[in-house]
């Protein structure tokens, strides 16, 4: 048998002069994807800043959030707002349950971050395959008339979905920011991200605080799950899209919330431009190369706090 004549078929450089409308349209799509990445990265980074481990179960919580949104919106015919609220509440409850069952015993034993990470991976395999075994591997799509509407704005057509995603992502992130900056509980969470033991010495109930952090992260997972499901359909392994959120969080610097937002937006916008102007195939290779090159020059990411492991 003969090997194929050409070695690589993926690349085809699209015209770089796509015109102004395409540029704005790409930017809007990029911002909406970036906004969702930012939401997921913030949820992930929030847990990291307190417990100092990578919560790999977060992707499957997002996936479950998408299923809740889909079933309440399409199958039960609820209005979109109610579906969103249900998805937020459901994901928050699941995230809290995840902490209480899989992480809390490790926390009591003061296990190292490694064990938390494996436990998170186990949770993620468990949840993904539970959905696969009970609901099935089918891809569910939100109805076209809802996700496919466009409107004209300054000569470019903008997707309704993109606009909603941008608005919801940034409102949610701003809300979280306001809560962390101004409320007493928010101050306690920020204190815990510096030193959780001293925080407890000052009279904060750490178990409750950690529970609350997981509830907040779960709420963000609900919003991002719904929008991810609308954009990419709902299926058991959709949680792997969150590996982009992990990359975004690392680009911004793990544990830093502004970093997660900036990293998410940068990654989303750059990826969309690469897939629009170069090729959608090189998109994933591009995001990974971006990560490695950035880490070579800035080993803590853009806004990272810690370089060394906490001992």
């Amino acid at each position: 048998m003969n090997p194929p004549a050409t070695f690589f078929s993926g690349f085809e450089l699209k015209s770089l002069l796509g015109g102004e409308p395409l540029f704005i349209q790409t930017l809007i799509t990029g911002l909406s994807i970036g906004g969702i990445y930012a939401l997921m990265a913030v949820g992930y980074s929030l847990v990291f800043s307190i417990l100092n481990f990578s919560n790999f179960a977060y992707g499957s919580i997002i996936m479950l959030g998408a299923y809740i949104a889909y079933f309440s919106f399409v199958k039960l015919g609820m209005p979109m707002g109610v579906a969103l609220v249900l998805s937020i509440l459901g994901s928050a409850a699941l995230c809290l349950l995840n902490e209480r069952l899989a992480y809390s015993p490790l926390r009591k034993r003061k296990a190292s971050a490694l064990y938390f990470m494996i436990s998170a991976m186990g949770t993620s395999i468990f949840l993904e395959n539970l959905v696969y075994a009970t609901i099935g591997a089918r891809f569910y799509a939100f109805p076209q008339e809802f996700t496919g509407t466009n409107f004209e704005f300054m000569g470019t057509s903008i997707g309704m979905l993109d606009l909603f995603a941008i608005i919801f992502a940034f409102v949610a992130i701003y809300g979280l920011h306001y809560f962390l900056q101004n409320s007493r509980t928010g101050i306690a969470i920020r204190a815990a991200s510096y030193d959780i033991q001293v925080c407890e010495l000052n009279g904060v109930n750490n178990t409750r605080l950690i529970g609350l952090v997981f509830v907040l992260a779960g709420g963000l997972a609900g919003i991002s799950g719904m929008f991810l499901g609308m954009r990419y359909m709902v299926y058991p392994t959709m949680g792997w899209i969150t590996s982009k959120a992990y990359i975004a969080a690392v680009i911004g610097g793990l544990g830093s919330l502004p970093g997660a937002v900036v990293g998410g937006v940068i990654l989303g916008v750059l990826e969309t431009f690469v897939s629009a102007y170069v090729s959608s195939v090189v998109r994933d290779v591009f995001s990974f190369s971006l990560l490695v090159v950035l880490l070579m020059f800035m080993p803590t990411g853009l806004f990272g706090k810690y370089l060394e492991e906490k001992v």
């Binding site: 090997p3 050409t6 481990f53 991976m121 395959n129 690392v250 994933d284 070579m296 080993p299």
Partner: protein, 293 residues
Amino acid sequence: MGYYISGILTICLIYVISNVGLSVFTGFTGLFSLGHAAFFAVGAYTAAILTYFYNVNFYLALLAGGLMSGLVALVIGYPTLRAKLRSDYFAIATLGFGEAIRVLLENLSITQGARGLPGIANYATLPVVAAITVITVWIAVNFTHSRQGREAIAVREDFVAAEMMGINIFAVRLRSLIFSAVCGGIAGGLFAHYISFIQPSMFTSYLSTQMTASVVAGGMGSITGTVLATIIFIAIPEILRVASIWRLVAYGLLLVLIMTFRPQGLFGYRELSLGRSWKYLRENTLMRAKGRK
């Protein structure tokens, strides 16, 4: 039936090769890799393409697969290990790396994209695989008992102290990574020539997770633990084919339970040895006998 059992055994041993390699890296340097399936895939594709398109000798192709994996490990390991990333950053970098390799395999024409390579010659029989497994485990055990292995343990336990003792952390980690990648590549080559069909979707991050999980469940830094955990993780699900969907559910649950109740893994840092097991048995029975008196 005999064919069935030898099939399960072959698959087990192939994964033993790759997981022992990963054990040398993760277990002995403390760094996590979530993209090790990529090394497996690179080895599988290199070896398969060589025998399939160019009729290269199987053993040479296997070796080429291992070397190719090692080369890829050098390319990815040099920048990431040089930067002395903390382990979470490294884990996510490898996660991205694994996905990037899979996307590349899906889009290269030499790999025939997502269709995969069907009809690879079936060279990897049980005796061949068993022989290579024995050699790999022997090399791995010697590797960990060498100066390199001791330095790696020092780095894992306290890298600041290790660096002050004059150990070059970067070199130790890079050598371990390349060793594990070569093992993964050879295992991949065997896998391709046993299954005789490969496609990119076989090498997802799920495979990486499974490899890492075997190392952790066996006990970080215990080669025999890794071997045993791999056999348990691969063989039991294969035997319990009946509940094929639910076995993965149980597998995830098992990981969480191990972390919750026996976080040091099956063997902790210790190796399984006949002498020690005998001593343990004898002492325990003696103790019990004394207690009864």
